[in-house]
């Protein structure tokens, strides 16, 4: 049991389970999943589907934070991705064709990779603090998205585009399948190759890593590109779900949700240690929280209040002072908790 408590994922998973238990107590049908028209329906499925964008963005953010960085521009990048795709589809000759969607998605993802290259360039080549380097795009990005959509909410009617955010494949929502696929690829790359360790070493000390032969600059650059890619796909999901590109509100505050998911998952904001599984749990926790609050009769907008409480609680639990206090009270053999 003591071993279990010491696992990094223990507390976040416990919190998620408690939240689900609370929901089930209030609405007994919460856990039920039924099959209808070949799709799975139910609150849990909704949480998975709506949580997909946050999960994707949080995945990219995890790697960025592991290099001791941060990417504030993901919300703006998501908005730009949606704007590019929708404007392209709406302006094309055959706005309902599947081929249009394919090229629109490719174009949007391409633009996002460019934006990621830009962020990574500022951070890794110019050496600007990540928070500021990405603040530039966070500020200008929404302006750019509005420039692309000309300040309008661009709506598209295209069944193929709709699939990305609201469609189902093999009874499961496409959005969560995409997110889980990206998660699986990232996890394999990070944990079955040396990449994860290299990212952590850059997060611990970029200069020492460079001297040890790690291509610190390339790795830093790559994680920002990956983060922007994830944000772009998330933006496409959001746009597809509403069939519209809303430059002002698409992905608004998703960067904060993503950072929150990463922090809940046990990844240290000081870099050098990350847990992808933790991020998955964190993202699901946030989405479940968002679902819980209206269910138990509190206005949905009060969401922020609960998020604040969670952030404060997690940060205090992670802070050295509190940890020291805990440790002195329970002087048991110190087992070093390995990264998941």
């Amino acid at each position: 049991m003591r071993e279990l408590v010491r696992r990094p994922l223990f507390w976040s998973t416990l919190a998620l389970l408690l939240l689900i238990a609370l929901n089930t107590a209030v609405t007994p049908s919460f856990l039920s999943v039924r099959l209808q028209d070949g799709h799975l329906y139910g609150s849990l499925i909704d949480i998975l589907r709506n949580g997909a964008p946050v999960l994707l963005v949080a995945l990219g953010m995890t790697l960025v934070i592991a290099t001791r960085g941060i990417d504030l521009s993901v919300g703006a990048v998501a908005a730009i991705a949606g704007a590019v795709a929708c404007v392209y589809i709406a302006g094309s000759d055959r706005p309902a064709a599947t081929s249009t969607v394919v090229s629109a998605v490719a174009l949007a993802v391409g633009v996002c990779i460019l934006l990621g290259l830009w962020n990574g360039f500022l951070v890794s080549v110019f050496g600007i603090q990540p928070i500021i380097a990405t603040l530039v795009l966070m500020t200008a990005g929404r302006g750019l998205a509005m420039l692309i959509t000309d300040g309008q909410i661009t709506t598209v009617v295209n069944p193929a585009f709709k699939v990305l955010g609201a469609g189902f494949v093999a009874t499961l929502p496409v959005a969560i399948l995409i997110a889980l696929a990206v998660f699986a690829v990232t996890a394999v790359l990070a944990r079955r190759t040396a990449l994860g360790m290299l990212i952590e070493s850059v997060g611990i000390n970029p200069e020492a890593s460079r001297l040890a032969g790690v291509r610190a600059r390339t790795i830093t650059w790559t994680v920002y590109v990956f983060c922007a890619f994830c944000a772009g796909v998330a933006g496409l999901m959001i746009a597809s779900n509403t069939s519209a590109a809303d430059a002002n509100n698409a992905g608004l505050w998703i960067e904060l949700d993503a950072i929150l998911a990463v922090v809940i998952g046990g990844t240290s904001l000081a870099g050098g240690k990350f847990s992808l599984l933790g991020t998955l749990v964190g993202a699901m926790f946030i989405q479940t929280l968002a679902t819980t609050i209206p269910t138990i009769g509190i206005p949905a907008e009060a969401n922020y209040l609960f998020k604040a409480v969670v952030v404060i609680a997690v940060c205090l639990l992670q802070s050295p002072r509190v940890r020291a206090a805990f440790r002195s009270r329970r002087p048991v053999s110190t087992v070093k908790a390995g990264a998941a």
Partner: protein, 336 residues
Amino acid sequence: MTTSTSVTVSPTFLDRVRGYSPPRRYLPVAATVALLIGMFGAGSLRYQGFADPQVVLNLFVDNAFLLVLGVGMTFVILTGGIDLSVGSVVALSTMIAASTLQAGWPAIATIIAVLVSGTLLGTLMGLVIHYFEVQPFIASLAVMFLARGLCYLISVESIPIREAGFTAFAQGSVPLPGGYHVTPSVVVAVVVFAIGAWVLHMTRFGRTVYAVGGSESSAHLMGLRVALVKVGVYTISGLCSALAGLLFAAYTLSGYSLHAVGMELDAIAAVVIGGTLLTGGRGLLLGTMFGVLLLGTIQTFISFDGTLSSWWTKISIGTLLLIFVVIQRLLTRRQN
């Protein structure tokens, strides 16, 4: 960072003029001022009536709250921290003001309530940052969520302010010589700015702010009161946000949960464009004022033009931010 005002043998006036090179610390501010003058020059050439002194004064009128926010943010950034909560605290302040006034509180009680709650939030944030070693970014993020959440708890709807004192303040006009005028909120902002400048540049607290920003551990080893200053700057930022919230409430005569979304970005941008180093330890409050004016000028430019859409404001602020960050980076790299 300390200033070395070394007074040597007094040379003649001519020698001084000839051998004058501006101190390094004024260089970024000088760049901001040059850009401001350049933009005004371009504006007055392109648009009729742009060069009117009242246009300049209106920059202050429309950005009084941003100036107040910028003062607090400068203190925080000088210590190497950041405060993302200011926009939400502004919104919370407008909500507290509007709801208490609606409940029939006298204006003075409302003002005190707002200022106290803002200061309290700031102090709490500072305590968490200093004593629990939580990163300023994430601690202020939590306060940002907290303040927005509290707004929604008060009311989801917008609340109008009809109290006589507030409306009189909002519609008031302070005449200046030459037929020009400003609003009372400008007076408040300028007073806050003056107090801020005095504290930052003339007091022991201000010196310590620079010292902590330069190197926290050195400041600590020097026996400076790091804890007081680190908690203090967030308290100041909270107080400034609350005050800015009051000015904003008077400016819009309403309280609304969605007021001031993203205003923290404007405040940070103003401070950075004003030449304050984001790593802390270097910068001037004067620069922040010019940063605020520059942001205001961009908006004026766009509203004078009429054909440019509002989103160009965001794009140009982002571009300016980029330029100044890169310049800062190049300057510091050369010194290292």
